[in-house]
Structures are given as C-alpha cells and as structure tokens.
Symmetry: C2
Subunit: 346 residues, 2 copies
Amino acid sequence: MCVRLRWVQKSNFMGPCLSETELISRFFNFNIPGQWPTQGIGDDCAIIQVGNRRLAVTTDTVASGTHFLPNVDPYTVGKKSLAVNLSDLAAAGADPRCFFLALSLPKSDSSWLEAFSRGLYECAKEFACPLIGGDTTKTAKIGHSQAPFSITITAIGEVERGLTRQGAQIGDDIWVSGTVGDAYLALMLRTGQWAGACDSYLAAAMDTPVPRVALGQFLSHFATACADISDGFLKDLGNILVRSNVGAEVYVDRLAVSPQLAQRTQKERRQAQLAGGDDYELVWTAPESARQRIIDYAQKSQENGQPLLLTRVGKVVSSGLKLLNNDGGEIQNTFYGFDHFAQEDV
Amino acid sequence: MCVRLRWVQKSNFMGPCLSETELISRFFNFNIPGQWPTQGIGDDCAIIQVGNRRLAVTTDTVASGTHFLPNVDPYTVGKKSLAVNLSDLAAAGADPRCFFLALSLPKSDSSWLEAFSRGLYECAKEFACPLIGGDTTKTAKIGHSQAPFSITITAIGEVERGLTRQGAQIGDDIWVSGTVGDAYLALMLRTGQWAGACDSYLAAAMDTPVPRVALGQFLSHFATACADISDGFLKDLGNILVRSNVGAEVYVDRLAVSPQLAQRTQKERRQAQLAGGDDYELVWTAPESARQRIIDYAQKSQENGQPLLLTRVGKVVSSGLKLLNNDGGEIQNTFYGFDHFAQEDV
C-alpha cells in the first residue's frame, strides 16, 4: 500500500519530465500502512474497502485565475466545481453518495454566494449527491487585495468493483466518450488567443461539463482501465498506459470533433484534442468482446434523447505511444497534457 | 437528513449574530436526500453509515495569513494542517483511517515542500493515518504576486457509535481537556499585541497541537456530546448547547491554565481561555456517573508519563449560559468565539 497522489509516475514517452509528478513522488510518497485495503492510488479516485462496501474518494481544488477566468459567473463556478469531482467518481465507475465543500472566499458576498450555491445545488440534485460537511475561510490578503476564491471539494461514491487506470491489456480497444477539445477551444476564443467568437455550445462545454456518471457505472462491468480526460487526452491516456505498463496506437483523427472545432486548422484541432484538457469525458480500454455492448449503449442513449458519442480511437499494444493519421502514417507527438507546475523548477 | 455545514445555527445567547453561520444556513442548507444515513451534520465531523461501518469525515482548510503567520516554518504547517483535522475526528470519537490533501502553492519550492512533507508525515505516522489521494494547484496571481499557500485536508475515521454535539442532558457535567488559552496567548505575544516573549512551551501549543484522538475514543463510550475547542471554548461549548437544546453554568476560573497564562491579567486570561481558539482540546458533557472513569483516565495518563489534565468546569442546565467566578458570582459574557467573516456584512 504505497501512497501516491493522483498523478502518475514520470512517463517515458510523454516528453519532458512533469514536475508536478515529481513533486508528488518526491514529497508525498509516504509509506504508512493503513487499516483499510486501498487501491487506485495515483488515479482519479482512491478506492478503499470499508467493511462490506467499497468507496471511491476524490478531492479537487478549483480556483479563480487557474481554473476559471476572472470574470466567471459564480453559478458556473458552483456547478462546475462539483461536476469535475463527480467526473473523477465517474472514471472510477462510482455512484456518487455525498460531498464536502471547503470554500475560501475574499469576502462573504451574498449575490456571489447565491449564484454559486444555485449552481452547486443543481449539480448535487441531479446526481442525488448531498452536501454533508465543509469549511469556510477567508482568502489571504496580498497588499491591499484579497486573494480570489478557491474551492476544494471532496466527493465520495460507492463502487461495486471500481475502475482504475491500471488493467489495460494488450489487444484492448481504446474508447473515448463525447467530442474532445471543445473546452480548450472555448478558452482560446474567450482569451483572444485564437480568433473567433465563443458560441453558446462552446461556452457550455467549458462552463457546465456533464460528468459521465452513468457511463462510468456501465463501463465498470467490463472496462479494463478508465480515466477522465480533464488533464488532456494524451496525458490521461498516458497515465493509463504507464500504470498498466502497456503502450498504444491512437488514430487521432477518429477523436470525435464538434462542428466548431472541425472548422479550425488541423494544428489547432490537434492541440485542442490531444493536449487541451478541461474536457470531462472518459477514456477507457475494453476487450474487443465488449464492442457490441458499447455500441448498443451509444445507440440507446440516442433513443433516450440524450445522445452520447462513444468512439473507438485505438488499440493497446505492448509499449510506446504511436499517434497515427487516418492513412496509418505516424504523427510526431509534440503535444503534452496540462501540468500546473510544468514551467517551473521543482 | 437536512444538510448543514460544521457551524451551528445562530445562537440566542452567544451575542451578535454570527455571519459565517448565516452564510451556511442561507446558502448551503440544501435538502437533498442521500442514500447513506447521516448524522452529526453541523458538527466537527459528518457521521455516515456505510454498509456495516460508520465513518466520521471532516474537511478543514488552513491558509497562510489566516491560520498561520506569514513567516511560519513549513514543518509546522505540515504537522498542524493534519493535526487540526485529526482533532475533528477526535471530537467524534473516531479512529483515523486515511486522509486526502489538496495543496495550493504559489510555486513548487523544494525546501518548503521537504519541510512541509516531513511535518505532515510525522503526524500521519503517529496516528497510522495514510495519505491516499490529493490534488496540487498553483495559487492565484494578484498583480505581480502569487497568493500564499492554502491547504485543505479531508480526513476519514471510523467510529463505533460516534460523538456529536447533540445529546447533552440537563444535569450532565461539562469537562475540558488540557490547559486552555495557550495558543491564543502565543499568537498575541508573537504578533506584539500583548507584551512579553513567546517561550517554547507556548510556541508548541500554537504550532504543534496534539489531537486528542485516544481521549475521544475513550469518551465515545459514555459522553453525551463532544466538540473540540478550535473556535474558542465559549463558541464550541455554545455549539453543543444549541444543538442539544440545553444551557450551562460554567465556572470559568476552573479552566486549566498554564503557568504562562496564569501570569497575565485576569482580562487577558479570560479573553484567551473563553474566546481565544486554536486550542485542540476537547469539551464534552457526561453524566455524573462517569466522573470516576474520567478521573481514572487522567490518573492513568499520568502513570503512563503522558499526563493529560481533564477538568470538570460546569454543569448542563435547562437554558441560558451563565459564566460564574469561583465565588459563584456571575460574570458578564462579553466574549465570543472566532468567526472568519464576523466583521463583515453577509
């Protein structure tokens, strides 16, 4: 029972060393035995065996400036801050049970809190996941300014088996849900880094992502490994490969693309899809024998009026990560996922 | 299963309205039914029934500037940030099982992280409470400065029965562990608000509080209500009284006092002991029939070389809160506990 936080070991094929990863392995790799059997450490969730039940637990911080643009609507903050945690539960195949909220605010501003609370409540209600504890504090003062908000949510769910990033088998298919890259496109447009307007579809992709809770529970019956792609498709798939000690071949042009992203240059599209992040779709591996079940699930979602794309994008192989175009030609991997401390010395 | 965070309802006898309390009741009093039976909401911990086990879960944020002086040793930050969460578990009578760490840092500074991690590890090891998940993020930028660190820990423990703030009975004794007011005295001395030097005893009281984990487990067999006094003795006792719908008579001069605090003026002593906060001792109520067990426990702690004062300071009555001096004369209650947003409009 070695302790490791949610980021994986330094990857051999992901390019330059990830310093957030090193931070974890150098400073928080405690080795303290616990009374509860634990797995999934280094994953979206830790999975712990508590008596006759198995829990998935995740904790995520979102902050103004880092995860949200400064002028963000507090309703969005409330809704998204819980959604990103439920997305981690989804990746473990968990059924959400409850959550805890640690809220740091510069001041207690009623109108901000009213909107935040409304967004939080909507997400909590949708997933029948009650708020059962928390803490509020004031943010630090810097000079005459108060630091902006920061929110840490810890969400607890229940799993039967529990999906982790470990378990992908050579020969497995690699699948991804939804369209990929829209949140990143929205960010680039809103910040003026790419030309164009952010329409309501893209705004929703960035502001109110839908955690794939039902999909995760469905996958938990047969998938061999799973993660959400919040840190970017390549980084999160990479995490599965490293922890499963396998490689992959990915047909990058098979990643489902929205009409908005399809209009961008190939370079922009690949940047958004492969390295963008802030998408809360799932990537998973599953044996070929599960293909029909997955296709049927996607079909059913359409019949239910909540269509969800499920796309087979590649194959698990013994080692390495090959990115291929539709002709089978190899693309150089110049894309990396998101790392909060990547630009710094540890 | 009404949802309420750790702060209690507005109290009738605690003086002016507590706006942090109002913040919670106005904005986070969701009413979403959950699948797990829950109690203890509004307490140090939420207590949840998971299959055949009962868990206590708490979350606390500590931040530079708010909970720590700006020049604090990162070793202290690591040790105390876990200790304050384990103190909440202690108040629930829980046995710590694991914790999650959400760390927001201005930059990844090795020497800071090394010392922080050492302090955190020491506390985790002492209580056999492994770190099994977390998140790291960069703090927000304000102008050219990066906001200082902020740490949220969620700790999970296991309880047999679980102590909450609800259950104090008329006629119960009121008890407090340890000396009270030392952390506040240390703060006043270090910040120059009171004259004098902060010696190593006081520094330790503020920097490396010992969560009363074993005591909490002992009390869980017979105490009727329990809390830690991290927000100040009067506020935390007040929380028990409100939630138990009872009152109290407290002999304030019976609160155990360190030699250092005993030398201060009566006014300073009372300020530190009644309203100070940042002490991680327990306050609890228990029937008269438990007196001898409690006295025996204190006696045993001395024999074991880890002496722990357990002091009977008052009595639960039907309503109101009377503060009495040793002659039985009433003292006006001009003291209030700590509230992060108390000086502001909600």
